[in-house]
């Protein structure tokens, strides 16, 4: 097998992804994958804000909530408005991006811990608002019986397969957008802001608009995830968007490798697998063998904690780190060409 073929092998695996529901007929597996897809989208979006631009956002679930609720309000019996799912995939990211700008604007002067605390506040305010505006949102009951998408007259129904396929397409677009951004004028501006904001301004970078663009684009990904997730679940309620969702998505970034698109995808798949597959399945297993008292899902936060601590101790840059992260944690001056030149300059300088 030639080197090129071997290099392209992973891409071959990507081609097989759409056929998984037809290979593995187990509906619960497909259902799990479709849900995991929403978290991949969330992680890709948060990666723009935290990984690329270096803005620590602890309230990211707020935009997920805004995306989900915009679908729930604009495509259900709630107000008798029935905008098609496909149009909402365009509208909801715009709504989420608008809120990204609105919530981002007051935080522009903040950095690090202060920014984290304020975004944490926003993350609490948004679900609370949906909870309390009960005349529009039915409060804690949430909005149910959302419109089910249909494509060419075929209704999605409650099967997970079409949602899984939609998620794949959205993720593909998301990856394409994110990697385009990373290698662009705006992507470099974000990196520059992350490294040194004052120096970035001296390069002619309008740091205000660059940061707002990061918040808006990051939010738009979760708007997308929100629509697909809400339509699939057929229900939205405020308790789906609590602080733990923000922490979960951030943990996915830390685990996978902040700033690396493939890293955050792996991180989100691993944590989704633990969260919605391994823990519930092992609980079932335990019940079957008579251990009816145990519920492993109660230990999920302990498990996140253990994973995060272990990662910080053994692999702080994440499973698939970006080049920057890796260098930040394992810096070494190990460029042989550089050392040789340095050496020769010193000797000739002394001569």
């Amino acid at each position: 097998m030639s080197a090129t073929v071997r290099r392209r092998l992973p891409y071959l695996a990507l081609v097989l992804l759409p056929f998984i529901p037809f290979i593995d007929q187990n509906n619960s597996h497909v259902d799990f994958l479709a849900n995991a897809g929403a978290f991949v989208l969330l992680a890709l979006g948060l990666n723009i804000v935290v990984g690329f631009a270096g803005l620590l956002d602890l309230g990211y679930a707020a935009f997920f909530a805004i995306g989900s609720y915009s679908y729930a309000m604009l495509a259900s019996q709630q107000f008798g408005i029935h905008i098609p799912f496909w149009i909402m995939l365009l509208v909801a990211p715009c709504i989420a991006a608008l809120f990204g700008v609105l919530l981002g604007a007051p935080t522009l002067r903040l950095r690090g811990d202060y920014l984290a605390i304020v975004t944490l506040g926003f993350g609490e305010i948004v679900p609370q608002t949906f909870l309390n505006l009960s005349q529009f949102t039915n409060g804690p009951n949430g909005i149910s019986s959302l419109d089910q998408p249909s494509l060419f007259g075929h209704n999605f129904g409650f099967s997970a397969t079409p949602y899984y396929e939609v998620m794949l397409v959205l993720i593909a677009i998301g990856v394409w957008f994110a990697s385009n951004l990373q290698n662009s004028r705006l992507g470099r501006a974000w990196m520059a802001i992350r490294e040194d904001e004052l120096a970035a301004r001296h390069m002619g970078i309008n740091t205000t608009t660059a940061k707002l663009a990061a918040f808006a684009l990051g939010a738009s990904f979760s708007g997308l995830a929100g629509v697909a997730y809400a339509a699939k679940l057929d229900l939205v309620s405020p308790d789906q968007f609590q602080f733990n969702v923000s922490v979960l998505v951030l943990s996915m970034l830390v685990l996978g490798g902040m700033g690396n698109i493939w890293g955050v995808i792996v991180g989100s798949l691993v944590l989704s697998f633990l969260n919605s597959f391994l823990l519930p399945q092992s609980t079932n297993l335990a019940h079957q063998i008579g251990l009816t008292g145990v519920d492993f899902t109660n230990y999920r936060f302990m498990l996140y904690g253990v994973i995060l601590v272990a990662m910080m101790l053994f692999r702080p840059e994440g499973l698939i780190p970006s080049r920057q992260r890796k260098a930040e944690f394992h810096e070494a001056l190990d460029d042989p060409a550089l050392e040789a030149q340095e050496q020769s300059e010193y000797t000739s300088g002394a001569a």
Binding site: N180, S184, R185, A192, E195, R201, I205, A327
Partner: protein, 254 residues
């Protein structure tokens, strides 16, 4: 018409007068220096020019256009680039990306162009990368394009900062102590580099403590002490100026 002019610029920090009614002009195409003892207010002048601080009063004009009240990024796009006394590179970006970031204000790509990677954006990226490589070889770092800025030796970092500043095609380049920490050989290289920068049509305004460098490259020297201009002239005139010697060595020395 003066290319660049400061008129009666004053900056107070609370009760401290950092810069006191400073006026001077720079002619296009010249290399000029500002010297003065530590704490004389030299870096403050750079920060006033680049909009990091707003002057308490006075005017700063580039080609008859006032810079007072403009944001730092706007001043940068008008054609003033700078380096920093304590190197401020983008540490975890490659040398090439550092220089490409310097080209930001020359680029046109907008959000949607970048998001969709449209042909004009791709073309611009290619041209930007090409230009960045040229600038790296201009400062002699072509072999280090891919390495992280922070992994470069100190002297190279200084040169990379200059390349990054030149990337915006500035009219006026501000160099804040470019020779600090350099060995004599590196300083000689720097003198050559500053000369070549002027040949590109860039006016150079530098702050420096190293008298060898100042006397060798600059055509005019302004001397600052306690925020006030105490002398101005050719290097030879300034060197023999009584007030300058007093400022550096104290009264009684002259």
């Amino acid at each position: 018409m003066a290319f660049f002019r400061l008129t009666d610029v004053r900056k107070d920090f609370g009760g401290l007068v950092a810069v006191n009614d400073l006026s001077f002009e720079i002619e296009a195409g010249k290399i000029v220096a500002m010297i003065g003892p530590n704490g004389a207010g030299k870096s403050t002048v750079f920060n006033l020019i680049t909009g990091v601080y707003a002057p308490t009063r006075g005017t700063i004009d580039l080609e008859e256009r006032s810079l007072v009240g403009l944001k730092t990024y706007e001043i940068a796009s008008l054609g003033i680039a700078r380096t920093f006394q304590n190197i401020r590179l983008f540490a975890f970006m490659s040398a090439l990306d550092n220089v490409m970031t310097g080209e930001h204000s020359r680029m046109r790509a907008n959000l949607f162009g970048s998001l969709l990677h449209i042909p004009s954006e791709r073309r611009e990226e290619r041209v930007t990368r090409e230009r960045a490589r040229e600038l790296l070889s201009f400062v002699g770092l072509e072999q280090h394009a891919g390495g992280y800025a922070r992994n470069l030796p100190y002297g190279f970092q200084r040169r990379l900062e200059i390349a990054r500043a030149l990337a915006s095609d500035p009219k006026l380049l501000l160099l804040d102590e470019p020779a600090a920490g350099m060995n004599p050989r590196e300083k000689d290289d720097l003198i050559g580099l500053i000369g070549r920068i002027r040949e590109r049509g860039v006016t150079v305004f530098l702050i420096e403590h190293d008298m060898h460098l100042v006397m060798n490259v600059s055509e005019r020297v302004t001397v600052l002490d306690h925020g006030e201009k105490i002398a101005e002239g050719t290097p030879a005139e300034v060197r023999t100026n009584r007030r300058v010697i007093e400022a550096y060595l104290g009264t009684g020395a002259a």
